[in-house]
């Protein structure tokens, strides 16, 4: 296994609010090897986007991050704002946001906005070099050059999403986060964009984190799946294992509450209840109040994340501890 480009060590994120501290992400440790594609899956409010924004260090002022986020040997948590804007954001880590239309300025042309990114982050480039770069990056996401002269509202959803991906690739970063990048798109466009992502990953040798609540998307573009629930990592597994043999009750419920295209039609189960109040998270396993297999022990102590097979980690007391790797 190649070395990790990114390693999260005991990352916790809390928001200070008027009602107290909201524990949005709790003790997440995760290895992202170079060239990997990690899928972060979970319901809304599970902390997926908070974690992504923390990596970009774009969290609002009232957020507190503890733990370490080691990216290429350096800790992102302790970087200052000026260090981050010189040579980190866009250059090393970039992000493709969900609402592409809201992520761009509505009153500037797309070309102008892209060029601004280059002017700020790569000031050594000359004007013709910048134009060349814009042209190259648009070609690689298969957009015509006229997009540069367009305003965001003039483009369709698919084209906007491609522009956002182009923007993410602009400074040629080794690491790219896709936060629900295809959620608002129609099925055919979505498949096209996911294919592009696959191709670009190879072309740019990208390491990616793909955030989605849709297990179909996760299935299409990731090699490892990390399940987040109420800020806790519940299961980390290779993609095939996650879909064929999910171990955590929450992962099982997530997969089985999606209607299928084939096979026998059975009544969908869903997951009763809702996310716990994170200003006052339950003791023990955060999924326990909704878990069909929960025992009293689950409500008392947080189970550790245990490696049940190589590369397969599960946080559940109910798992028979098979082949525990120390």
């Amino acid at each position: 296994m190649s070395e990790s480009l990114l390693e999260l060590r005991n990352v916790s994120i809390r928001y200070r609010t008027g009602r107290g501290h909201v524990s949005a992400v709790e003790d997440v440790s995760l290895q992202v090897p170079t060239g990997a594609s990690i899928g972060l899956v979970g319901e809304s409010g599970s902390g997926k986007s908070t974690l992504a924004l923390a990596l970009m260090r774009l969290l609002p002022q009232n957020a507190e991050v503890t733990g370490e986020m080691i990216f290429a040997g350096e800790n992102l948590v302790t970087k200052t704002e000026s260090q981050l804007s010189k040579g980190w954001r866009w250059r090393k880590l970039a992000m493709v946001f969900q609402k592409s239309l809201a992520a761009m300025s509505p009153v500037h042309r797309i070309g102008q906005q892209m060029e601004d990114v280059l002017t700020i982050h790569e000031p050594h480039l000359t004007k013709p070099e910048r134009e060349q770069r814009l042209h190259d990056v648009l070609t690689s996401v298969r957009l015509p050059n006229r997009v540069l002269r367009a305003y965001p509202f003039e483009l369709s959803g698919g084209m906007m999403q491609r522009s956002m991906i182009a923007l993410g690739l602009l400074c040629n970063p080794p690491f790219l986060i896709f936060d629900e990048a295809t959620t608002a798109l129609d099925v055919i466009t979505q498949t096209q964009i996911l294919k592009e992502i696959e191709r670009l990953k190879a072309e740019y040798n990208l390491t990616t984190i793909v955030i989605s609540h849709d297990v179909g998307v996760i299935n299409a573009v990731t090699d490892t799946v990390a399940v987040l629930y109420a800020g806790q990592l519940m299961e980390v597994a290779p993609r095939e294992t996650f879909f064929s043999n999910p171990q955590h009750p929450y992962s099982q419920a997530l997969i089985s509450s999606v209607p299928r295209l084939r096979g026998e039609k059975t009544r969908l189960a869903g997951i009763p209840g809702s996310l716990p109040d994170l200003t006052n998270p339950p003791q023990g396993c955060r999924f326990a109040p909704r878990c069909p297999h929960a025992t009293e022990g689950c409500l008392a102590v947080t189970p550790p994340l245990v490696e049940v097979a190589p590369g397969h980690l599960v946080r559940c007391t109910d798992i028979p501890l098979r082949e525990v790797v120390a």
Binding site: G158, K195, V215, F243, V258, P259, G263, A269, G270
Partner: protein, 330 residues
């Protein structure tokens, strides 16, 4: 009277007029968007029909016409034997109770300044359901608790912004149930919800159908959801039905190239779901302005030939119960 099908849509058409630019404005020349073009179908009681298609294909417009929120430009709509176009006065009000709609965005379905209790009571008051306020509250509480919203009293005093998406959508469904309608249009009711809540809302609709013999038109872009909930599926493209038939038949063997494209591009939630490679389809759904004759899918269809650009195909059965509008099938 109960012999008549619940809904008969006969060549419904809905055109929107757009004026483009000052020159056209002065000359009074207008372009027309063919949002829905000659859609015909029947819906029986206790039947669920799913309208499937990409955004902009006119599926919501069909839904809105069915509950008389949009007037068809041409065509006739019959509801339980009555012509809907001509309804007025008391009969129209009665229709408004019998035909309900559930919207995609549950946060916009309630007045933000009214508590949930007030909103629910208003709906009943307008249709003279329940003897007095006490009786109405009683009914609301019963229905809410049956839908898993417990304790119901807790929700009644809340405002819409204090609810999660799943809760709001469940309450929207409760509001519909309180009026005991015979027909419901559900416009993407689960697309904004988490998967864990989705299953609940879908099951709730299936139960309603079973209990009240309700006919449902379910609008969705997700074929897997359509398969789960519907008896029949109608695939729409640019305002027309391109394929209509039993849900299982369409999923097992889509005949229209667009249905094939849609199905093969739907992301499988597990490897056993995937059977074919995604069919590559170029371009995006165009806006149906000033439509020319010919198949509307022709310019994106990988199998299109001369005839497709000249002659509009009509829906017809080619063996089996499924009707397809495609020249490839003869």
């Amino acid at each position: 009277m109960s012999e008549a099908p619940l809904i008969v849509a006969d060549e419904l058409q809905c055109l929107f007029t757009v004026r483009r630019g000052p020159v056209e404005f002065i000359r009074g020349k207008a372009s027309r968007i063919h949002a829905v073009d000659t859609v015909s179908f029947t819906l029986e009681r206790a039947e669920i029909l799913a309208l499937v298609g990409e955004s902009g294909c006119g599926k919501s417009t069909v839904g809105r016409m069915l509950v008389k929120m949009e007037e068809p430009t041409a065509g006739a709509l019959t509801f339980a034997g009555e012509t809907v176009n001509a309804l007025s006065g008391a009969r129209l009000k009665e229709f408004r109770r019998r035909a309900q709609m559930i919207f995609q965005n549950p946060f916009e379905a309630f007045d933000p300044r009214l508590t949930i209790g007030t909103s629910l009571q208003q709906a009943m008051q307008i249709h003279n359901i329940g003897k007095d306020q006490h009786d109405r509250l009683q009914r609301i509480v019963t229905v809410m608790e049956r839908s898993g919203l417990t304790p119901a009293e807790d929700f009644l005093s809340r405002y819409p912004h204090e609810l999660s998406g799943g809760q709001s959508q469940r309450i929207a469904t409760v509001r519909v149930m309180l009026l005991s309608p015979e027909f419901v249009v559900a416009d993407e009711p689960v697309s904004m919800l988490d998967v864990s809540v989705r299953a609940d809302i879908l099951n709730q609709l299936l139960d309603l159908r079973d209990e009240l013999d309700m006919g449902i038109v379910f609008i969705t872009h997700d074929l897997a959801v359509a398969r789960y909930i519907a008896d029949r599926i109608a695939v729409m493209y640019l305002g027309m039905f391109v394929e209509v038939g039993p849900a299982e038949e369409i999923l097992a063997n889509p005949r229209h190239p667009y249905s094939q494209a849609l199905l093969s591009n739907t992301l499988p939630a597990g490897d056993e779901d995937r059977i074919t490679e995604p069919m590559p389809i170029g371009g995006e759904v165009p806006t149906p302005v000033d439509i020319q004759p010919g198949c509307r899918f022709a310019n994106r269809c990988p199998f299109a030939f001369d005839r497709c650009f000249k002659e509009t195909p009509i829906l017809q059965a080619h063996g089996g119960k499924t009707e397809v509008a495609c020249h490839l099938l003869g």
